[in-house]
Amino acid sequence: MNVNERFQSLRTGLLEFLVLKIIAAHKVYVADILGVLAKTDFKTQEGTLYPLLSRMRRDGLLDYEWRESETGPPRKYYSLTAKGEKQLAELTEYWKHINSTIDSIGASYE
């Protein structure tokens, strides 16, 4: 089992956090989200992302609006709700906390 496989479940768990971050930066369309993730280790497919987005919307973290597109039918553009923003802030805070914990463990043992 290589490093990549070892962290598979960790990445899966972090996906929601990343999606929140992406949406927080811009109003995005699903293909944009996939495009951002595709360049990273968090490469994701529609089959996973759509159910995730729908659940996050049900949890009240995000919402979407329809926008016309030049090439085809209208598209859903996602944005964060207040609850989503709050969640993102909490997660970011916690992530920093975990990071510093990981960094400090062992190193600070003096």
């Binding site: 899966t12 699903v30 089959g47 996973t48 159910p51 729908s54 659940r55 039918p73």
Partner: protein
């Protein structure tokens, strides 16, 4: 040349090759099953359709208006499997174990693709997992050996064995789905659960107006599938060919043909395929030996073919084990020998037998006169 199927994805028409359509339908059916608990099911499915539609658009140009099977497979791979709300790691493994292996039973079909004539050799090659060339060589060799009689076997198979027309049948011919394999396999299972008419209709509506002709085809297929399932079920409670059984069946069929040919050749010319047996032994002994050899070889084969499923031998069932072959052979041998003995030792019997053609002639004559 491939059949194409028209579909609508979120209101826009697309033309897909038939196998591509099957794979897409399987994918969406699987998605629907995965999302069955999800309150936003309809919305997610429509999003997925939209995404697929856009991927199709990207592959179409001014002079290319059909999405090929390969492209559909590619699109579905890009989409990735739809996962249920709770990560379905556990149910997935459960699914694979509970689906007892013969979900896609191998069946013998004629395969048109790459066929020389009717696809018999092609189908057999797929069935036995052999090279087509090898199967063809065997057929040619057998045709020469049997002085052309083997062609009848080919002709018989041509009429008896069905063509693999749908991609599902083709998958069965090879014993596996060769297209978006896993998706099709899994979807097939969920597809069969969609037996409730109401649900099916709603699904049809949601897929937005598949053409009527198409729906008919799908429903017919579903009926066929139900029939086949029932047949399989019935089979399971009786005898089921096991392991290499089909191969054994094929071999014993070949042997039977060879044997009959040998018998005829022996009686007519006193030689088996040019080998003048009667120079060494009397013809009756040759015939008897032919019987014994045939039964000694095919008996165990027949027994092997119809081994019971599982280890239980139900007392009410007729257990055809290896000994039956030998016993059958001995029985026939006994008959032949006693007949021969009677014929040679009892002049009455001999004259009776010899008189049969004469008597028969008399009978025919008297009928003619009457």
């Amino acid at each position: 040349m491939n059949k194409i199927t028209s579909i609508h994805l979120n209101g826009k028409a697309y033309q897909l090759e038939e196998q591509g359509y099957d794979a897409l339908r399987a994918y969406l059916t699987h998605a629907e099953k995965q999302l069955s608990e999800n309150p936003d099911k309809a919305e997610i499915l429509s999003d997925l359709e939209q995404a697929i539609a856009e991927k199709c658009d990207a592959r179409l140009r001014a002079n290319k208006d059909v999405v090929t099977t390969q492209e559909v497979t590619q699109i579905l791979q890009e989409m990735g499997p739809v996962e249920g709300p709770e990560k379905s790691e556990a149910p997935k493994t459960e699914q694979t174990t509970s689906n007892d292996a013969p979900q896609t039973p191998k069946r013998l079909y004629l395969i048109r693709e790459g066929a020389m004539f009717a696809g018999v050799c092609n189908g057999l090659a797929a069935y036995f997992n052999l090279d087509v060339l090898l199967v063809r060589l065997i057929f040619v060799a057998l045709t020469i050996l049997t002085g052309g009689a083997w062609i009848l076997v080919y002709a018989a198979m041509m009429f008896v064995v069905p063509y693999a027309n749908t991609s599902e049948e083709r998958a069965q011919a090879y014993g596996e789905a060769f297209n978006a394999q896993e998706i099709v396999n899994r979807a097939k299972e969920s597809y069969s659960r969609l037996t409730d008419k109401g649900r099916w209709e709603r699904w049809g509506e949601r897929m937005s107006n598949l053409e009527d002709r198409h729906r008919e085809r799908v429903e017919k297929k579903r009926d066929n599938r139900a029939e086949r399932r029932a047949a399989r079920q019935a089979e399971r409670y009786h005898y089921r060919p096991v392991g290499t059984s089909a191969f054994l069946g094929f071999v014993s069929m070949v042997l039977a043909v060879l044997w009959i040919a040998a018998l005829i050749s022996l009686i007519n010319t006193g030689a088996i395929f040019g080998w003048a047996v009667t120079a060494y032994i009397p013809i009756w002994l040759a015939i008897v030996l032919l019987f014994i050899v045939f039964h000694a070889v095919t008996g165990p084969m027949r027994a092997g073919r119809w081994m019971r499923v599982g280890n239980q031998w139900h007392p009410a069932d007729y257990a055809y084990d290896g000994w039956h072959g030998v016993v059958d052979g001995l029985g026939i041998l006994f008959l032949v020998i006693s007949f021969w003995f009677a014929y040679t030792h009892f002049p009455e019997v001999q004259s009776f037998i010899n008189a049969i053609p004469h008597q028969f002639q008399n009978l025919v004559d008297s009928l003619k006169k009457g």
